[in-house]
Amino acid sequence: MPDQPFSTRLYHLTQRQRHWFFIAPALIILLLVVIYPIIFSTGVSLFRVTFASQSRPFVGLQNFERMLGNDDFIQTALNTLYYVVFSVSGSFLLGFGVALLMRRVTAGKELLRLILIIPITMAPIVVGLMWNWMLDPLFGLVNWFLGLFGIPGQTMLAQASTARMTVVLVDIWQWYPLVFLIIEAGMATLPRAPFESARLEGVSSWMIFRRLTLPMLRPVILVALLLRTVDAFRTFDIVRVMTDGGPHLTTETLSLYLYRTAFTFSKLSRAAAGSILMLLFIGLVSALMFRYLYRDVEVG
């Protein structure tokens, strides 16, 4: 409406765009604390920057090549994959199972749920330290318990063959309750009618589970898997206090390796390149899961 006075048009413009007044502060801070660091990291990864030297020659993609050609990087990437596969599937199956069992109990349900979710409220570093104590070869409760059955003391965290699985088990211990909570919340929203009619028609519980429960829970299952994958991929705290990556890098995750590359060995650009690779990878994985998720849920 060009014949309106400028002030009126300005008023309408601000009315139409008023949401930005509310959103802009948060958005600016997020761009500053999330997007800018990623751009900064990408920039740093193209140069050779260390904390020690002042000169920063441009090296192109050399840091990325070095990283991808580095045995330790590949090893820790594979370790991370191992964590993701076993911790996600382990916590998922256990969490799902507990959610199913929870539907079969009545008395004491609240109390059981409250106890079961304690681990997710604990700081991962506290969980790691606590299990160090449980697993101590000399006085730990685990070995004391095994000893009752005549099994000699084990040094699970010191042996390459068992350290990785032990850390994964502790991670599962902490996070399966999250899957349980998500699945339980999802089950609570399922409509009753299809289940009741299936039961009336004498469909077996296994078939009801496979043909009704699982498909209807699909979006919820995806959310649980997505969250667990993203978290397992960044595992740091637990490993840092339980094994610090040892023995011989067998438990070292990407986060821990990149942390060390930057802060112990002061190779900032190399670590930046590694972290960008890490971001690209998890970005790709979660984009695929996201797409799968958005196909049938309306989000936002």
Binding site: I23, P37, F263, F290
Partner: protein, 279 residues
């Protein structure tokens, strides 16, 4: 759902075993905090002893635990306050105004959840370093520095959770207030916020827990002046031995407030932990 008795008994047995697997390490570890030093590492574990508070005294006063507790409170409280101040208005706009980019922006906010902390922590360290050297602005090892950094994981969550709470309210609420002469902001402040207050409390508590338990970013960006409780837990491990009693005293100081908050919050927990994607 009608459940056969045998099935129910089996469910109880398994769930009780799972509960024991949670309680045994948590409780057995925690009581170590009350053991005198000579029986910290006795094997088999000593169950009956005269409880003492000397570990807490040592951790709290001799090792300056109260300073770390204060730091943790300042950093967690401060970063939650900032996240609420920035996030609540944004959440309100996402819930109330229809605009073209809203959906894309909300999805972008969830996608921030996938970014590994190292990807943000590393450049933050470098940026703080360059700011200090270049402009003389010291943010490393300061409360504002950490509070800003923590927005990377708190702010998106605050917006998502609060948007859910705002969306539950009828829009007619502000509209009638605005007819009565309130401005949009006035209506938000006087009419909507009081109603949505329980949601704000729940959001604040959950975000507080995340900030309270945070370890990685603090490890990189905090220092002597701003060390948090989770960071000090690691200091009770000396190369050759661990001061278990003291360590579990610290663990308890970290754990107990969160468990209490969780009990208060348990119904809102899923919403927060899943970014409300499930709604």
């Amino acid at each position: 759902m009608r459940v056969p008795t045998s099935e129910r008994i089996l469910a109880y047995v398994i769930l009780i075993v799972m509960a024991i697997l949670v309680l045994v390490p948590v409780l057995a570890g925690s009581i170590t905090a009350f053991k005198p030093q000579i029986i910290w590492v006795s094997s088999p574990p000593t169950w009956i002893f005269e409880p003492t508070l000397e570990n807490f005294e040592f951790v709290f006063f001799t090792r300056k635990g109260w300073v770390y507790l204060r730091n943790s409170l300042i950093i967690s409280g401060g970063s939650v306050a900032v996240a609420l101040i920035l996030g609540v208005p944004a959440a309100y706009a996402f819930a109330r105004f229809r605009f073209r980019s809203s959906k894309a922006l909300m999805q972008w906010l969830i996608s921030l959840r996938m970014i590994p902390p190292i990807v943000v922590g590393l450049p933050f360290y470098a940026m703080f370093l360059y700011l200090e050297r270049g402009l003389g602005i010291g943010l490393r090892d300061t409360f504002p520095g950490l509070i800003i950094t923590y927005q990377t994981f708190l702010l998106p969550l605050v917006i998502w959770m609060m948007r859910g709470y705002f969306a539950e309210l009828p829009a007619a609420m502000e509209e009638s207030a605005m007819v009565e002469g309130y401005t949009r902001l006035g209506a938000l402040w006087r009419v909507v916020l009081p109603v949505v207050f329980p949601g704000i409390v729940a959001t604040a508590i959950l975000n507080f827990i995340f900030a309270w338990n945070e370890f990685f970013l603090a490890l990189i960006l905090a220092g002597n002046r701003t060390s948090t409780l989770p960071m000090t837990a690691g200091t009770y491990i000396v190369r050759t031995r661990v001061e278990w009693g003291n360590l579990f005293a610290v663990n308890l100081i970290i754990m107990v407030p969160v468990i209490v908050l969780t009990i208060i919050l348990r119904r809102q927990l899923v919403k927060g932990l899943t970014f409300g994607i499930l709604e």
